[in-house]
Symmetry: none
Subunit: 280 residues, 2 copies
DNA sequence: TAGTTCGTGGAATGTTTATTCTAAGTCCAT
DNA sequence: ATGGACTTAGAATAAACATTCCACGAACTA
């Protein structure tokens, strides 16, 4: 019964991964457990003995062998060879290291290659996260969390390019059990959405150049209603600074290709999680 | 004179290399041959059996064992562990290592301090961006951009925790002049929103554990309608893999406090910008 | 040259390891 | 409920394995 002839084209590790994923739904209970373990712990598959792997995956040794056979291999030993090939392939011939190191620096290669674009954005993201760590002051963080903790309802305002940050903050806060209203302007009802905000609530406003006009219009109204405000923006000259209780200034990088939302996302997440952690 | 006592501090692979080099002149003929072989073929030392290594080095199996003992190990098996450690260390280029490094720095201590939370998220973000650079394959990127370029309308599906990523991708693509429909399920009209999608369009699906049920439900329908699909997810076992033309797998970090959307955001941005750059 | 030490090859040994087999168990369809 | 197909756990087995042992031989010493 040559069940899986396709697997016999003893392909690379990547082929094996896809083959496992493909067959995953058809596997029996135990085999599925092993499939998941194998994909998540390829190193242990490569180096462990059948007994060790079985113990880590919490199945019987015989199940491991069945798994190998189900994929078309003669036994565990054959299957293991493929996992080992991954280890061997990943050993840096030492010059490869430098190439990828350079690539990480970003100033390498012309920008018309998609990989270079990825490298660039990833590098910019890392830089912005690093500077976020340096710039954000302990006191601002503590004060912002205090305000959020005291709020009955948290209003989140972030439109245009900042909307994903607002959405993420809203999502995490709600997961953590907070009452949150996101001011998304759905149905052009931005003003109405914010109508019931009181000084017992709080506002998190997020805006970066070019500043969204609706944000700029609504913000002063909410300030006038004496809500405590936490602003996340890129400059002290932005329209959401005046009247804010706490301002997090995350300037854009001098020559960034496109505003990256990585740092604001990270800060938003920190506020949300920090809130629950410090309330205990 | 306890010459070999130093080797007993079962150190790392690098320590072992130096120890072998140091003792090399004092070794007997056969042992010297093995020492040279070991330094030049560390991978075979890590993965081979005694018999295999002996054959490759053109010595007797017993000589291999003697070599291990001469270095202060109990036998070949113990020695081999050190060579294996080199393989496992080289596979995740930084990733976990960096995190545990940070943890050792004490920068992770007492997570109740908001600053520590920020540091933690920022660090995890940086690590995930770094591994994104390494994991994303050139061909996948090129293929994905090709699909997006050929699409009349781009549909974006990302719900729950992935919604911010979908929102960001939508925003950037629209700024760059693409026709985009975001499937946000507004008014519970998820199905209707996707009703007009044809094979001339394309879908970008984004989903991470725990997978949103609506995403899992809608995805196969769109696949059945033969749309080219680009999936961004965390595992090949996720519900949005089967039927996808391109899959970007961004696994979660082993001990992440909370799924960070930093890497997916960055990838989304790369796709959008890469699309316009490569069309010139 | 005779005696001693040390290195070596190769077979013998006892252990670990993968694999196979069978009885028991589970799940469905009837 | 009952029969049948399919899984599974665990012991049994056979192969592979690292290690030990010992006899032989080379090199050095007296």
């Amino acid at each position: 019964m040559p069940t899986k002839a396709s697997a016999l084209q003893h392909g690379t590790y990547e082929n094996l991964r896809h083959e496992i994923a493909r067959q995953h739904p058809d596997f029996s209970d135990r085999l599925r457990v092993i499939a998941e373990f194998a994909l998540e712990h390829p190193t242990e598959m490569a180096l462990g003995t059948v007994a060790e792997v079985a113990q880590r995956a919490k199945v019987q040794p015989s199940a491991i062998v069945r798994f190998a056979r189900a994929l078309g291999y003669g036994g565990f030993t054959e299957l293991q060879q493929v996992f080992r090939s991954r280890l061997v392939a990943s050993v840096p011939p030492s010059y490869k290291e430098r190439i990828t190191g350079l690539r990480r620096d970003g100033r390498f290669q012309d920008a018309n290659n998609p990989q270079a674009v990825l490298t660039r954005f990833a590098s910019e993201g890392m830089v912005s996260l690093e500077s976020l760590q340096d710039r954000v002051r302990q006191v601002d963080l503590a004060r912002a969390i205090e305000l959020l903790g005291a709020a009955e309802t948290i209003y989140v305002l972030g439109l245009g390019g900042s909307f994903p940050v607002a959405a993420h903050l809203t999502y995490v806060l709600r997961k953590l059990g907070r009452r949150v209203v996101i001011l998304d302007g759905l149905g052009s009802a931005l003003g109405d959405q914010a109508a019931s905000a009181t000084p017992a609530d709080a506002l998190v406003a997020i805006s970066f150049r070019v500043y969204n006009p609706d944000t700029a219009r609504l913000f002063p109204e909410l300030v006038a209603r004496r809500l405590p405000v936490i602003s996340i923006t890129d400059s002290l000259l932005s329209p959401i600074v005046e009247g804010a209780s706490v301002v997090f200034e995350i300037p854009d990088m001098p020559e960034a290709a496109l505003r990256t939302m990585v740092a604001p996302m990270c800060l938003a997440q920190t506020l949300a999680v920090g809130l629950t952690l410090t309330l205990d």
